[in-house]
Every structure is written in C-alpha cells, then in structure tokens.
C-alpha cells in the first residue's frame, strides 16, 4: 500500500512580519520591467528637460548696434552672500575709529515718471510727476567703503514706512511711524563702537529711542559715513486675463537735512558727494542726483535702492522644469502599483497572504516612496548643476544660494515626487481604475500650478489661493529666492514667489496624501477585493 506523504514547506511557520511584507512589495516592484523603465524615464525627463531649458535660455546685452552680445552682468553680492542692489547718492566723510553722527530730516519728496523711463541724459527729470515711492529712503549711513555690496548700517526716513534702521541689505527694523516734515521732523543717530553700530531715532532731538543694533563683521577702522538718499524704481503691474504688463522706471528722492552733529574723529575738510551706481542699475543718471550745502542745511537727491535684489529669475526652479514630466511618470507608476494588482487579480493573492490590508498598503507606500525619493534625489542633484552650467554658458548670471537652500530644493523635490507617487497609490486604491486615478492626481497637482504660474489665465487672488490649498502648494520647496517685505516687487507664483513657506507648502501635499491613504485603508477594509 502506498502512503502519500503530505507536502510540507521547508520554511518555518511564523507571523507575517512587516519586513517580509516590505520585501514582497519590493520584489513585485523590481520585477515589473515597465515600472523600472518608467522610473528611468522619469529620471531622464527631469535631467533632459533641465538641459533643454538651460541650453535654450540665453541672456545677453549689446552695448551698441554692431557690438557683440555680452553675458548679462551679475549684480553685486552683499555681506551675507546674496545678490543686492546698491545704488544711492552718498554725501560722505571718513570716520576714523568710534564716533557718531546725528541729523534732523525735515522733508522727503520725490519725482517719478508715469510713462516709464526718463526724458534724456541731459535733463533726466524733465516731465516727471512729483511723488515719493513707499520705499524711497534718505538718512544717515555708515558703510565699509564706497564699493557696491560692502557692509553698512543706516537710519532712514522712508516714503510711507516711517523711520527704519536697515543694515547689510537684508535686515530691516521699524522705528517711529509717520512721515518727516518741517512741522514733524525726524531725528536720526548712528553710533559706531567697534563692529557694532547702534541706531536711534527721536521726534524732538532730546528724547532718543534705540531702534536697533547691527554687528558689521570686519568693518574697517576708518569707515565712510554721512548722508544718503535713494529711491527704488517705480513699477505698476497691471494683471488681467489677457496677461500681465509691467510699466515703470527710475525715480528720484530728495531729502532736506539740518542739525548735522558729529562726534569722534572726523576730518575738517568738506563733504564729498558721490553717486554709488552700477552701469545696469535701475536708477536715474548721475546728472540727476547730487547735493547742496548752505549754512548747515543739506539737500540730497538720490536714485536707486540699497536692498536685496529681488528681480532676478529663480534659476534653480527653472532648471527643474522637468520635474513635472517626472512627476507624471511617477504618478502613473504609483497608481499602477496597485491598480495592476486589481486588474490581474493578484490583489486576492496578496490579501490572502497578508490579510491585514492596511499593512499591505503601508508596505506598498513605503517601497514606492523610497524608490521614488532615490530616483528624484539623483535626478535633481544632477539636473541643477547641469542646468546652471548650461545657463551660465548662455550668459545667464547664476544667483548664489546657500547650501541649506540647495538641500531644500534637492531633497524637497525628491520628497515632492515621492509623496505624489504615494498620493497616486492611495487614489489608485480608492478608484481601482488607473485612468481615473492618474487623471485625478495629475490634475490636482500639475493643473493648479500651471494655472497659477501662467499669467493671464486666472485673477491674482485665485492664483494665490490655488498654490495654498491644492497639492500644487508643494512646489514651494523649489523656491530658492526670498521674499523681502522691504522691497516692492510683484511677489506672485509666476515670478517664482509662493505664498507658503517651502516646507509648509510641502505639508499641504502631505496632508492630501495622508487623507487619501486614510480613506483608502478605510475602504480597503470594508470592501471586497
């Protein structure tokens, strides 16, 4: 008689550990050739489109009709390493060692052009309208040297932001409010002690309030100190559904000073007036600026701005235009990672092997996110230097970014791709149909971004709202330029400025993904497969 021996697996019986589940999902992922190809395509699209953008974006200036095109000049760099605008009229004397300067400002007026530009180099202010810009500024300044971009600290009155103390381009502290006038003058004082400059303001010259303390590292023992005036470019951006158009031009600010008081080692010589200005600054010609001095009263006229540069394009974000192509590819893979199982009936085997369905989805999400993050990390880390290299070769100046910002963009973009793929996985689980799920996710992420950054499709308010609440908010991680309240600028998504902070925007996408995952787990548990 034959005895049938029942089959026993060689494997030991044990609980389905999460590690086994992860391994099973990883095996599924890496053995589907189409998904590996898809990941490679995503990487190639990100790198390739970045290279395409870099290779076809030229920047050049021609000084004359027949002269060769030169590379666009880079703005000067401030003490913090950022690009700055440093253009103003400076009435100065050298201040040796410690000391202080005090002044009374009795008026700040201005001129601007409603038609944009200026009349002629001989008479630049002809036909201009009286009016002061909100951030027109005049006051006293202590600066390392007359070279653009060097360290400084200044106390100033402004067009409509009251008294401010500003230093090293990015720092801005508010003092007394209200405008300076003959009836209500503003007293300003700067005191140097070593590397430390302290700013004070006063409404009467008797009662002084400390506004701020600036530490200017490496300020030379003899600094340049004195009066200044500057007025940033006037700009009106009219936005409509037909597109946006910008109009504006340089402006002039004129301030009246008296009661100039000096303490410390100052020369007895006269004051020197000088326009600090670069060849491509948005400022009136030197002939429009200047100063007069009569019996202790000074009038200083200046044009330009002392501020961080905010009108440069976000080069890093531009090199990453291919992120969208990569994103579409990884969302397709993310959705297919689950819908393929439904289509082939594999999902029944999966859930028989591992009846706790939520854990299966978690394992899938982890495997998918890890693979996508790695692919995204490599792609962005290659694309940014490649794109910048090509852009630089085409004459585009490359703005300096800190290592932290660079890391934020690279890791943020990789994380953005990973979470988008997981969102695809979750929506794929919910809908079980690949076409619908892919469309839903891509439309939720890419379309709001597209509508927000393309000027002229939607009103500005709707644009801002779209990149706040939709998953497209996560593209804020690609923003490498900063928003400065002390600079008037069209801070819109189209110009590269997102309303949310980088990681706050990313959190919006994560919230959407978490919501979809929770809902997917809930349905997975209730539904038949």
């Amino acid at each position: 008689m034959n005895v049938m021996t029942p089959y026993h697996s060689e494997l030991r019986v044990r609980r389905d550990g999460f590690t086994q589940l992860l391994r099973a999902e990883w095996t599924k992922f890496r053995t589907v050739r189409g998904w590996l190809i898809g990941m490679a395509v995503a990487m190639l699209l990100i790198v390739g489109l970045g290279a395409l953008t870099g290779a076809n974006s030229e920047c050049g200036i021609q000084l004359g009709p027949n002269s060769p095109s030169l590379a666009c000049p880079a703005p000067p760099t401030g003490p913090g390493g950022e690009w700055v605008t440093d253009s103003f009229y400076f009435v100065r004397q050298p201040l040796a060692g410690n000391g202080s300067i005090t002044v009374r400002v009795t008026s700040l007026t201005g001129l601007y052009s409603t038609s944009g530009g200026f009349a002629s180099d001989q008479n630049p202010t002809a036909g201009m309208t009286p009016g002061v810009q909100p951030w027109s500024k005049a006051g006293i300044i202590v600066k390392a040297s007359t070279r653009r971009g060097t360290a400084y600290a200044a106390m100033m009155v402004t067009g409509s932001h009251g008294v401010r103390m500003q230093w090293n381009f990015t720092h801005d502290v508010a003092g007394l409010t209200g405008k300076a006038s003959a009836a209500s003058p503003r007293w300003l004082r700067l005191t140097r002690s070593g590397d430390t400059i302290t700013g004070y303001d006063s409404a009467d010259g008797a009662h002084w309030t400390r506004v701020g303390v600036a530490t200017l590292v490496g300020l030379p023992s003899t600094a340049q100190a004195g009066l200044f005036a500057a007025s940033p470019g006037y700009s009106v951006t009219s936005r409509s559904f037909g597109g946006s158009s910008s109009m504006g031009g340089p402006t002039l600010a004129t301030a009246a000073f008296d009661q100039v008081g000096r303490q410390g080692t100052w020369p007895a010589s006269r004051w020197t007036g000088e326009a600090i200005q670069g060849a491509f600054d948005k400022a009136l010609p030197v002939s429009a600026q200047g100063f007069t001095q009569t019996a202790g009263r000074f009038t200083v006229s200046g044009s330009g701005d002392i501020a961080p540069a905010t009108d440069s394009i976000d080069v890093i974000r531009h090199t990453l235009a291919g992120t969208f192509a990569g994103l579409i590819a990884v969302v397709v893979i993310g959705v297919m990672f689950v819908t393929a199982e439904y289509r082939r009936g594999m999902i029944r085997t999966t859930f028989t092997a591992s009846p706790r369905r939520g854990r299966v989805l978690a394992a899938k999400a982890i495997v998918l996110a890890a693979v996508t993050f790695a692919v995204g990390l490599v792609a962005t880390a290659v694309t940014i230097p490649l794109g910048e290299h090509l852009l630089h070769g085409n004459g585009n100046p490359i703005p300096p970014v800190t290592a932290l910002t660079w890391l934020q963009v690279v890791a943020g973009t990789a994380a953005l791709l990973a979470v988008s793929a997981v969102l695809g996985l979750a929506v794929g689980t919910l809908l079980r149909r690949s076409a619908g799920a892919i469309t839903a996710v891509i439309v939720a992420i890419v379309l709001p971004y597209l509508l927000a950054v393309t000027p002229g499709i939607l009103p500005a308010g709707v644009e801002q709202w779209l990149v706040r609440v939709t998953p497209a908010a996560a593209f804020a991680v690609q923003q490498s330029i900063q928003h400065y309240p002390q600079v008037t600028q069209d801070y819109t998504p189209g110009n590269g400025y997102f309303p949310l902070a980088p990681w706050a925007g990313f959190a919006v996408l994560c919230a959407w993904a978490a919501l979809a995952l929770t809902f997917a787990v809930f349905l997975l548990r209730r539904r038949d497969v």
């Binding site: 489109l49 597109g243 974000r317 969302v331 397709v332 076409a435 892919i438 469309t439 439309v443 499709i457």
Partner: protein, 257 residues
Amino acid sequence: MTAVHAEWTKLRTLPGTGWLLLAAAALTAAVSAIAANSVSCPAGGCQLDPAKVSLTGIYLGQAVVAIVAVTVISGEYSTGMIRLTLAATPRRWRVLAAKAAVVSAVTLATGAVAVLASVLAGGLLLGRHGITAAHGYEALSLGNGPVLRAAAGSVLYLALIALFSVGVAAVVRDSAVAIGVVLALLFLFPILSSVITSPGWHRHLEQLSPMTAGLYIQATTNLRSLPLTPWQGLGVLAAWAAGAMLAGALLLRFRDA
C-alpha cells in the same frame, strides 16, 4: 455603420461613461463660473477677455474627456475584449474609426452642454461685476461673432482632445500610460515655455503646444498679440489629433492585438 452601432452599445453600457461625461460637463461649468465670479476689476479698468474667462473650465473638463476617450480603447485591451472586437470587424481601421466617431459624438454633445452652461453663467456673473458691453467689453452672447467662435471652438477643442486621446491610447494600449502621455503632452509645453527665455524657442513651444495653441480659439480680444490666429491654433491641435490617430491606426493594422 454596424461597427459604429457596436461601439455605441459598448460605450453606452459601461457603468462609468455617463458619470464621467456628466462630471466633464459639471466641472467645466463649475470652474468657469468660479473664474467668472472671482473677477475683480475696478470700473472697467482692466483689459480682459470675457469669453476666455467664462470658458476657463475647459482646462479641467478636457482631462475628464481624455479619461473617457482613453478608456474606450485601453479598456478593451485590459479585458481582452479587443480580440473579440477585431475578430468581429477584421478591418481594423474601421474599428478605430467607429470608436473615434462615437467618442467625438458624445464629446461634442457633452461639450455643447458644458460650453453653453459656462457662457450663460459667465454672462450672468461677469455682468454682476460690471464686465458688460456697456463698459466696452465684448458682449458675451453667441450672436457676437468672436464669442460664437470661442464657444463653438471650445466644443471642437474638446472633441479634438478626445480624438487625440483615442489615437494615443491606440498607440500605447495601456490606459495608465496612455492617460499619462496625453496629460504630459497637454501640460508640459506651457510649463516649458514659461521657463525657456529665448524668444524664438518660447514662441515655437507655444505654437507647437496642443493645449496652448488649441485654446487660442477662446481668444476674442487682443488677437494680434497671439503667435497664431485662433483657427490656426485649433489647427495645431487638429494636427496632433490626426498624427496620433494615424499612428494608432498604423500600429493597430500591423501589430498583433
């Protein structure tokens, strides 16, 4: 004709079709109405194109239309139904033509409803915000030539998107990949043209983009600033659709199903 009838029966009896078409119309009208309602313009002071604003929803509606169109082809591949279909109609181009005819017919009908609702809502809401003919804007009525062109053109735009999607689906067969390719081709051109600064390339990308060029048909004001005329723009999308259909037909003819 039998092939068309067969395709119509298949499409009609799929559970999702009706809901998707309803969603396409509803989303188009809803987004259009939201866009029209969010216009804020101080006393006629801004240049805007009322027809374009009131048809903003097409951006979203086209995606839903693409789902329907892609599923008509790739749904058959995923279930194996395609083998039965091709056995019943061995002249394969007829199958594709019948599918294209049915999909464009339902899209035209859906699109007409969606566009009509959008224009009506737009007229009502924009009028409430002072965007009326009395303030010097284009009158938002279908009796006005350019507005009629924008409205009818938007319906045609949706039908061309459907044909384009059918063609792409016939080429790649898998629904996930097909919808990914369609959406990538629609959305990537405008994103790339927004970052490429060379004027020549920027213009060429806009002229080549199926979505950007195709939607020039919605423009009623400031036509001179466009790189193509409205009908030329729609022609670009038609060329994309024709190319995709041709590639799909050839592959269907010479490839095993």
